[in-house]
């Protein structure tokens, strides 16, 4: 398809804390520090879902922020990927049995990459993002393919009308 895969070189991340204990969030922010410096890969921590490509989400989601997570996910333009960071984001972790915990991000929105750990280490989080980038690229190719098909169908329809 496109030779210029800019998407992989410029993933902008939206970080959301869905009732995490803050352990993973501190590790996520550690990725931005001079020690790990994820901006080397063109990664930017943006505060705006409409500018984001990657939703990096921690915690097991409770009844109150369920809607927020759904809303944020809807606002991110396609193509997008979701990374669940930490044990709680994967399964609910030690909060799994709590009455208010939904138990994992994938109960609410589709997740592409799981980063295990309690708390997840910055190296693992960066690995998770790198894994997500190839998925992002796949989704972009698929999205382009879908638009192409749609255009082809439209053209075929018009051609049909003309004849």
């Amino acid at each position: 398809m496109s030779i210029m895969a800019f998407l992989k070189r410029s993933p902008w991340i939206l970080h959301y804390d869905a009732s995490s204990c803050n352990g993973c969030d501190i590790e996520v922010l550690a990725c931005l520090t001079p020690l790990y410096d994820v901006e080397r890969f063109g990664i930017i921590n943006t505060g705006n879902p409409k500018h984001a490509d990657v939703l990096l989400i921690t915690g097991g989601i409770n009844a109150q922020n369920r809607e927020v997570v759904e809303n944020i996910y809807e606002q991110i333009p396609e193509p997008k990927v979701v990374i669940a960071v930490g044990a709680c984001a994967a399964t609910g972790g030690i909060f799994r049995e709590c009455y208010n915990i939904v138990g994992g991000i994938d109960k609410v929105i589709p997740v592409d990459v799981y980063v295990p750990g309690c708390a997840a280490r910055p190296e693992q989080i960066i690995d998770g993002v790198v894994a997500a980038l190839s998925i992002l690229e796949e989704k972009r190719a698929k999205m382009n393919g879908a638009t192409q098909e749609k255009n082809d169908a439209q053209q075929a329809e018009q051609a049909g009308e003309n004849t």
Binding site: P34, E39, R140
Partner: protein, 292 residues
């Protein structure tokens, strides 16, 4: 001779996005080094904009995209007029009009963050507009022309007559380059404070257009800096580099201020420029009286 202006304009329209993107890349690299980081690749701004054109464009209302296109066109137009050697006052009016379109684009969407960003952008325009006009007036007083072609060809070292005006221009340049401490409308460095201020509701290719307009704008503003040193091109280029480096340095060592402080700084810059111009007027008047 008649066609040289067209060459300048076309060169600007074609090369300014390349130069602006490279300047942005160097800016990010220097910023990273100042913070003890490795930083992104030099071509990162091009990757970013390329990506934005690959993304889905989420549009709340169709008018927002129209306003941003107008913003891009008028920024490019004001820069093209500048490099064509046009009238400085006309260029400043086109430049201001471009920002009016940006503000209207942000107001077109019913989002509180976008509206706060738009209001702050208007305050920024209020802060820098007097100073930018005074800079044009200062250059006119020294070179007797509002035409960029004449000012650039002048052999008078304008900076020696206009140190206060240049200082004031450097202060508002911080506002225009969207750098800390005056980066209040886009909140580039303050994630989640007002989300992304004026650009909150723009995504995909529309955001890419804003970014490209910003590159055009930066090249135009650095061209404006050059006019103060136009009598010697080498010193002019060095002055541009030093000024930009100083802006990056200030960006990294200061915290953002409130809008009141930004407005005051912009107007203090204008007052410094007015004092400079008043003294200059006295000297020029004295010289004329002495000559007569």
């Amino acid at each position: 001779m008649t066609w040289t202006w067209l060459i300048g304009a076309i060169l600007f329209l074609v090369l300014a996005p390349v130069a602006g993107g490279l300047i942005a890349g160097i800016d990010r690299k220097i910023t990273a080094r100042m913070q003890g980081r490795v930083g992104p690749p030099l071509l990162q701004p091009f990757y970013d904009v390329g990506k934005l054109f690959e993304k889905e464009n989420v549009v709340v209302t169709a008018t927002q995209n129209f306003y941003i296109l107008a913003y891009l066109i008028f920024i490019a137009l004001s820069g093209a007029l500048f490099f064509a050697g046009g009238d400085l006052l006309l260029i400043i009016f086109a430049f201001t009009l471009a920002h009016v379109f940006l503000v209207l684009g942000a107001y077109a969407v019913h989002s509180p963050y976008s509206h706060i960003g738009a209001e702050r952008e208007l305050i920024q325009v209020m802060a820098y507009e007097p100073m930018i006009i005074l800079a044009a007036v200062g250059l006119y007083m020294v070179t007797d022309s509002f035409y960029v072609a004449d000012i650039a060809a002048s052999t008078i070292p304008a900076i020696l007559y206009l140190p206060g005006v240049f200082l004031g221009f450097a202060i508002i340049l911080t506002i225009k380059l969207r750098k800390s401490p005056f980066d209040i409308s886009t909140s580039h460095h303050a994630h989640q404070e007002i989300v992304k201020g004026i650009t909150t509701e723009f995504s995909g290719s529309t955001l890419g257009q804003i970014e490209i307009a910003h590159w055009y704008e930066n090249v135009f503003l650095l061209g404006f800096v050059y006019l103060f040193f136009a009598w010697n091109p080498v010193i002019g280029i060095i002055a541009i580099a030093v000024t930009y480096f100083a802006e990056v340095f200030v960006d990294n060592v200061t915290a953002r201020v409130r809008w009141q402080a930004m407005l005051k700084s912009g107007w203090i810059a204008a007052i410094i420029a007015i004092i400079n111009l008043a003294i200059l007027a006295c000297i020029l008047g004295y010289m004329m009286a002495g000559g007569a």
